[in-house]
Amino acid sequence: MTISLKVNGKSHEVNDDPSTPLLYVLRNNLGLHGPKFGCGLGQCGACMVHVNGRATFSCIFPIAAVAGREVTTTEGLMENGKPNKLQQAFIDEEAAQCGYCISGMVMRAQALLNTKPKPTEEEIRSHMSSNLCRCGTHAAILRAIRRVAVA
């Protein structure tokens, strides 16, 4: 079945089973390797992308449900080929250890900052609680988000 997707501003025609998770299509069909496969159960957040601006677990989001909506991955946050403010803050705070969760963390945090540019500490923590980092770099991740949140 052919499904039209709009990803990072570009339209794509994808020929795949409509129950295929968006994550697989992003990685395997479109070559966007920012989003990662972590648990495949919507538990860890490594696969997080924006769907119509909303942070969404792409591993449990079948492409049949995407029709007519806009998908953004961490690649789509880049501005003129450079990391955007939040991505740069992650780099500056050295928030990545193994890096596997980072794309999801960035997408999750960006979704918050898009709707609430100056979130409180409590709002940041509660919003980020859906994303796990097995290296335990949460403190650095929070610092990176705070850098942008107060800027």
């Binding site: 129950s19 989001f61 492409i63 449900a65």
Partner: protein, 424 residues
């Protein structure tokens, strides 16, 4: 002359009735205690009190989401009467119960009257707490008085006329409050009696599992018939009608102390707080409660109802794809619940019950309560799937996994869940 006499008599009788009524409903203030007079209880008593506070779910109502423990201020939606704010029950003398003697505390629990002598609204479930023994209340009082005093004034109640007249509560009590302890039933085991004491008393389970009448009192003749709380359906405990399997006491004990059972599903909505509390209670007490609750259900439903999994004739390819891609990753039919502890949906009580209230809320808001404890987990689909996708998935699951009739209330429940904010 005679007319005069009649009028005077009527006025006198009227005055008498008013005075009698006031005398009947009037409760004296109990002398405040000074902070120096506070007794220091021993650690064992305080521990017992902590256990009882856990079983009584005190903190669920007396703590706000981000507030200090027991400092009150949680808005309780007492529709259609208005909003009631829970009180500060920390030992702060000005804004909490720091000036309350044990006698005042006992009177509040047994009679629903505060230290100053005001009648308390039955949102505070003294219709159950009245069964608590003096000894247990001694421990509970010691525990609360050992907590950190928090100075926090709670907002005033926002009740509609005439419900804002506290004296009306006195009339409510005449009609609906049966004071006093429960006589043990000698034909039952000590565990059953212990369970009954906890369930009917401090545990106040029927507050959420029994439907209420026009006056907001539990309907005695429909005890445990199931009720709606914050939009969630608190299933009937007097029958296993919506369970795929009859609940055994062992299953209940596991469910109550972990928030999950593999044959029934997860404790979600307001029940997740109860399960989180009971996970900290002693297993002995939880077992006793489970024995009593299991005994309430007198139907003889077959212990292993055949699992439903029917082909859904008129399902669209979109809903099948969404179900397969979004739901079946965890809710598979292989008896493998995985790390999310997701049941085959043929076992889920939410799927079998008469309305879609719990299924819709679980899909919208997920089950997040146990994230920190390795319990059941479900991601929220609100705003991720569209409302019409959520509705079609709910309809599909109902048709595929339950023997019951089609749900007709799905869109209504989605709207209602949004209005109420969904999560307790």
């Amino acid at each position: 002359m005679r007319l005069h006499a009649v009028l005077i008599s009527i006025v006198l009788i009227g005055i008498f009735l008013v005075l009698a009524g006031l005398a009947w409903t009037w409760r004296p203030a109990i002398e405040p205690i000074s902070s120096g007079a506070k007794q220091v209880a021993d650690a064992k008593t305080i521990r017992q009190g902590a256990e009882l506070a856990t079983i009584g779910n005190c903190s669920d109502c007396h703590t706000t989401k981000s507030g200090a423990s027991y400092a009150g201020g949680l808005a309780l939606d007492a529709s259609p009467y208005g909003t009631i704010y829970s009180s500060n029950i920390t030992p702060d003398p000005e804004t909490g119960i720091g000036k309350w003697s044990e006698e005042a505390f006992r009177r509040a629990m047994h009679e629903g009257v505060d230290r100053e002598g005001r009648h308390l609204y039955p949102a505070f479930p003294y219709d159950h707490f009245t069964h608590a023994t003096d000894q247990d209340l001694h421990a509970l009082y010691a525990f609360l008085m050992s907590q950190q005093a928090v100075r926090s004034t709670v907002p005033s109640n926002d009740l509609k006329f005439p419900f804002n007249i506290r004296l009306l509560v006195a009339g409510w009590k005449i009609l609906f409050l049966s004071r006093g302890s429960l006589e043990p039933d000698s034909s039952q085991s000590p565990e059953w009696n212990r369970g009954r004491y906890l369930v009917e008393g401090l545990g106040h389970c029927s507050s959420c599992h029994t439907p209420r009448n026009l006056f907001g009192a539990e309907k005695k003749y429909s005890a445990y018939a199931g009720a709606v709380v914050d939009g969630w359906y608190g299933p009937s405990l007097n029958s296993s009608i919506f369970a795929s399997h009859k609940w055994s006491a062992d299953q209940l004990a596991e469910y109550l102390s972990t928030g999950w059972h593999k044959m029934h599903g997860a404790a979600a909505g307001p029940m997740s707080d109860v399960a989180k509390n009971l996970s900290r209670a002693s297993r002995e007490n939880v077992d006793a409660m489970a024995i009593y609750i299991a005994s309430l259900s007198n139907d003889s439903k077959a212990p292993t109802a055949p699992a439903q999994d029917k082909p859904v004739v008129n399902a669209t390819s979109e809903v099948v794809a969404i179900y397969t891609g979004a739901c079946a990753k965890c809710h598979n039919d292989r008896n493998d619940v995985g790390p999310s502890k997701a049941l085959p949906l043929s076992l889920s009580t939410a799927v079998h019950q008469a309305d879609s209230a719990n299924a819709v809320r679980a899909i919208l808001y997920g089950i997040e309560a146990y994230r920190g404890s390795g319990g059941p987990y479900m991601p929220a689909f609100d705003g991720i799937l569209t409302d019409s996708q959520i509705a079609s998935v709910a309809e599909y699951v109902r048709a595929r996994y339950s023997g019951g009739p089609q749900w007709t209330d799905i869109n209504k429940e989605i709207t209602k869940a949004r209005q109420k904010g969904g999560q307790p």
